[in-house]
């Protein structure tokens, strides 16, 4: 009971703090200088229509590399933590039924196609590597839901993941050698603004991020799905 009262007290204190923050808040009428710089220079300098993509892939590209690394570490730790709980006795879940199986065969390619569309068009439309990767992993998830005992191809997933990661770093180094700095997208011609093959290396980098994120989530799903029933 005392714990609950303490929690309530903490929440009330935080609530007071938030309320004072809220009451003083007024939305800016103008963009701040950083955002203004991005808004005015992205189109000419990088050729990307989606400013969020430009920030993630190029302006803050190094952070994104770090973040993909964090994600990789998370997937690796999940695999490591669950490694001793591998299932020994096969278990028999209720099968998914014929209609779900047929629906999965129909929809999985469509989901993967949508994922590829999302990360290839990351510099033109909302979307990009992280979203596309999550959609790819959702396609894998649908297969898993329809047939939970289907064995996972760990080899393919880890090959895709390490290949995408290595190429990502190599493209970054190429930017250092051929253009302005690490992960500079201008190693490829900028192309015509608004076309699919434009914005230099952004579509390539984002596709690699998409494949890597998708492979990482899929390997998380795989290591969870192979655990033992408790």
């Amino acid at each position: 009971m005392i714990k609950r009262a303490l929690a309530l007290l903490l929440v009330l204190a935080l609530g007071g703090l938030f309320a004072s923050l809220m009451s003083a808040y007024a939305p800016d009428p103008e963009l701040n200088p950083t955002a203004r710089y991005y808004a005015e220079h992205t189109a000419q300098d990088l050729g990307a229509a989606n400013l969020v993509t430009a920030i993630i892939v190029t302006y803050r590209g190094l952070d994104t590399l770090g973040e993909v690394t964090v994600l990789f570490l998370t997937a690796a730790i999940v695999g490591l933590v669950l490694a001793q709980s591998r299932r020994r006795i096969p278990h028999q879940p209720v099968p998914g039924g014929e209609l779900l199986a047929t629906g999965t065969r129909l929809l999985t390619p469509l989901i993967l196609l949508l994922g590829v569309y999302v990360f290839v068009n990351g510099h033109l439309t909302p979307g990009g590597g992280f979203q596309g990767g999550a959609i790819l992993a959702s396609g894998v998830l649908l297969v898993l839901l329809a047939d939970p005992v289907k064995p996972f191809s760990h080899g393919l997933i880890s090959v895709i993941e390490s290949l995408a990661g290595t190429l990502y770093v190599l493209i970054g180094l190429a930017g250092l050698a051929l253009a302005g700095g690490f992960l500079d997208n201008r190693i490829l011609p900028l192309g015509e603004f608004g076309q699919l093959f434009s914005a230099g290396a952004i579509p390539v980098i984002y596709s690699l991020i998409g494949l890597k994120v998708g492979a990482e989530f899929a390997s998380m799903l795989a290591s969870l799905s192979e655990t033992e029933d408790l």
């Binding site: 039924g97 209609l99 779900l100 629906g103 929809l107």
Partner: protein, 108 residues
């Protein structure tokens, strides 16, 4: 054209409303799934058609969204109905027969 689109929108929203009403009023899970699936599918398709009339340049994407809904929605409600039946969801006392439970040798 705009007026037609707006009318389609209202018709679609009315079906969505009916679906919600059915969800509240129907007596058991299966009847609620019926109301939920049918009314929302037609309602969403009609609203998408309405938006396609209002903005003809969006028609292709709206058609794709409609197609996806047309495939995913019945599948998910079928899986849900099956799982509700398997998990032994309570049926309304009005229910006449239950051949599936008879087939599986469970009391209906």
């Amino acid at each position: 054209m705009d007026l037609l689109g707006a009318l389609l929108l209202v018709a679609g929203a009315a079906f969505l409303f009916l679906g919600g009403l059915g969800l509240v009023r129907m007596p058991d899970v299966f009847n609620r799934i019926q109301a939920g699936t049918k009314a929302t599918t037609l309602g969403t398709l009609l609203t998408l058609a309405g938006f396609a009339c209002l903005r003809p340049d969006w028609a292709v994407k709206l058609l794709l969204i409609g197609l996806f809904i047309l495939f995913t929605n019945p599948i998910s409600s079928q899986v849900l109905a099956r799982s509700a039946h398997r998990a032994g969801a309570e049926k309304s006392p009005l229910t006449g027969v239950d051949r599936l439970a008879e087939q599986e040798g469970r009391p209906s």
